[in-house]
Symmetry: C2
Subunit: 410 residues, 2 copies
């Protein structure tokens, strides 16, 4: 077996960045079905938004200079010559000393350059008293002010949030080219692991709960998961099942195998799947040291530790990055982590990154992080936690009151 040096968290991030490719397959989706997909090509505006000068208030379209000097005590006077209807091109125009009623969203009539709000004037039998002076363009969104024709509106690699969908729709775009949805396989290994549906456990057995936590996280990231079942600690069976699953998916997640023998199996099975193979074997992190990351013929393979809390932390920290790269995502939506102040001193070993589950509470307009004490096998510590504090490898711990980054569980 090849020997690997344990990597730091930062080295692991760089290796993921270098090694994981984006999938090549794209598809065209209707906008309403494209939420959280990743844009596969930039979208360029083919028209101005808005496509006409539009009023942002209910009021009167005027020439700004006709209102100069108007005030509560010295109103100006304009002649009302008509009204603009929503969704129609105005048939009236505004010349010197004239005004036209316009609703919010209405198109500015020819000759006008601004809109005076209804609250600032009074219609006295067709004579408009203005109590305030207007600036040019006041209460108007100009043609192209929101989006200009020819501009890149949304970049390739952007995750389509509701607001991106809205922006694209405002341009009359109804279909987008996106990277297709990822499908990853999940396979558990270990003689002691039984399906989570097992009603009564025999002594020594453990239910495969990682499937639910890991698939749940993947689903939150818009990734489908194919369940590959549980394999015993048998190299040939493990290799065959892993290969079968690997062939159907874009990436593979292997959970468990915490016994010494199983750990060796896992590495050998991963190496058998394709080149270049394992690029991270062991990370200086607590919990989660025995993590394995590999690339086999363009498909990532993630070997997670068996402990439920460790597996979740490792998958959130590294699995999410790997899947993002694989799905072609380039934007980092912020903030994925917040800063909070630690309620107590936490020691840590330099050279190793520590991840501590915390409960968050608000005090004096700041978040505070209270560590939850519990061994890494305890799923209840995760249920009780609001997030995970990172103590980076160069630190010897954190002091009470110190600011720490927290990855938040939602």
């Amino acid at each position: 077996m090849q020997f690997f040096k344990v990597k730091t968290v930062e080295e692991t991030f760089s290796l993921i960045e270098e090694n994981i490719p984006a999938i090549e397959q794209t598809e065209v989706r209707e906008l309403a079905e494209a939420l959280h997909y990743i844009l596969a090509e930039p979208v360029i505006a083919k028209e101005n938004v808005p496509s006409f000068d539009r009023s942002t208030v209910d009021g009167y379209a005027v020439r700004a200079k006709d209102t100069y000097g108007s005030s509560e005590s010295m109103p100006g006077f304009l002649t009302l010559v008509g009204e603009v209807k929503m969704g129609e091109v105005p048939t009236v125009s505004v010349s010197n000393g004239k005004a036209v009623y316009i609703p919010t969203g209405g198109m500015l009539p020819r000759g006008s350059d601004s809109v005076i709000m209804i609250e600032h004037c009074e219609d006295v039998d067709g004579l408009l008293n203005t109590y305030k002076q207007n600036a040019p363009a006041e209460n108007v969104i100009r043609t192209g002010e929101d989006i200009k024709e020819g501009e890149i509106l949304v970049n390739k690699g952007t995750k389509l949030r509701p607001q991106e969908l809205g922006a694209l729709a405002s341009l009359g775009i109804t279909h987008v080219s996106v990277f297709r949805k990822l499908k990853v396989g999940y396979l558990s290994s270990g003689d002691e692991i039984v399906p989570y549906q097992t009603e009564t456990l025999s002594a020594g057995q453990i239910r495969d709960i990682n499937y639910l936590t890991i698939a749940g996280l993947a689903n939150e990231w818009n990734v489908d998961v194919v369940y590959g079942g549980i394999v015993k600690d048998d190299f040939d069976e493990f290799k065959q099942k892993a290969r079968e699953l690997y062939d159907q998916v874009d990436g593979l997640i292997l959970s468990g195998g915490s016994s010494v023998g199983a750990k060796d199996y896992t590495t050998d099975v991963i190496q058998s799947l394709g080149d270049p193979g394992v690029f991270v074997h062991g990370i200086s992190i607590k919990p989660g040291k025995p993590t394995i990351l590999a690339l086999a013929n363009g498909k990532p393979v993630i070997g997670l530790p068996g402990h439920p809390a460790s597996a979740m932390i490792i998958f959130q920290l590294f699995g999410q990055r790997i899947l993002r790269k694989l799905k072609g995502e380039k934007t980092e939506h912020k903030p994925e982590r917040i800063f909070a102040r630690m309620t107590k001193n936490i020691p840590s070993s330099p050279g190793r990154s520590d991840y501590i589950r915390v409960h968050l509470f608000e005090k004096d307009s700041e978040w505070w992080a209270e560590p939850i004490i519990g061994k890494s096998g305890l799923i209840t510590t995760l249920v009780k936690s609001d997030g995970i504090v990172e103590i980076t490898s160069e630190k010897e711990g954190v002091l009470q009151g110190e600011y720490v980054p927290v990855f938040v569980s939602r």
Copy 2:
């Protein structure tokens, strides 16, 4: 028409809390299909987790007192009498001066009380040299230490995140009773509004982009949306379409109607749907003042402002709370907002809550919020923004460097 006093944001939150009921219908779902559903009854542990004393490391099961005094310079000596296999009840037991090999996750053999890590001993032809003394229970998760039989594991009203699914699975629970998925209706109104699929706009027309942003947000909250189309500014048509949609859904979202006439229609249409009717008509907030909230025969109705950015902010701020109450959700997953420091002074009117779109960046282990300047009609300001800063109604603005709460867009 009834007259309404404009409400503050805080009053609106209280009114939502008082007025919106949870839906009554529940359903039983398989755990793997229950992500983000809301638990309709508490789950009580029917067994201990783990169900046996389990080792957390690879090592040797011993009696702690047999290792007392062991050190690197003065090792202790124990006789190896066998090994524990994963997933099996040990057939060997540990008596005075004896040790048994045990893998991570293995079941402690009778007679042992702790596990000494493999790194702290050496097997010399069946004689185990121990270089460290063990404490009782060291490297062991005790029966029931994670979850105790009879304990409430997850409360009613909890949103099922991946970790809750894992915790439930660890108890052998395969099905849960949850509130069924919500279905809300979306209806746009306004003579100027055309379907977003409209290829070429006539002068004065605007594409219905709020459908995409609002449905996108609802989908992120695990809520289905039924599209009801666009109605013209015609009271009878509006009322009929709203009623038809209302009858099919758990709640109704009305968008637009920004002209004076349409605003009146909207209120009257909402009042026609059922009692008690409108409970908020106007909120002292910028943007989004013309918001209407109502309850009609147990179904909430939300009247959103027509401007895309305003509609999103209002829906995130109030719509999300309403839908959470409606879906029976009681937990508040934290933090929904973070604290950041403002890069510049922002004035604000006391008595009104202001919401400012910001770009977030990290500096010196803190988040800073840079305001994005733009009129509320501009969708691009939302695309560029990472979140929304809240300036509460009692404030006259915020100063540069001041901590402000930020609602984050993901």
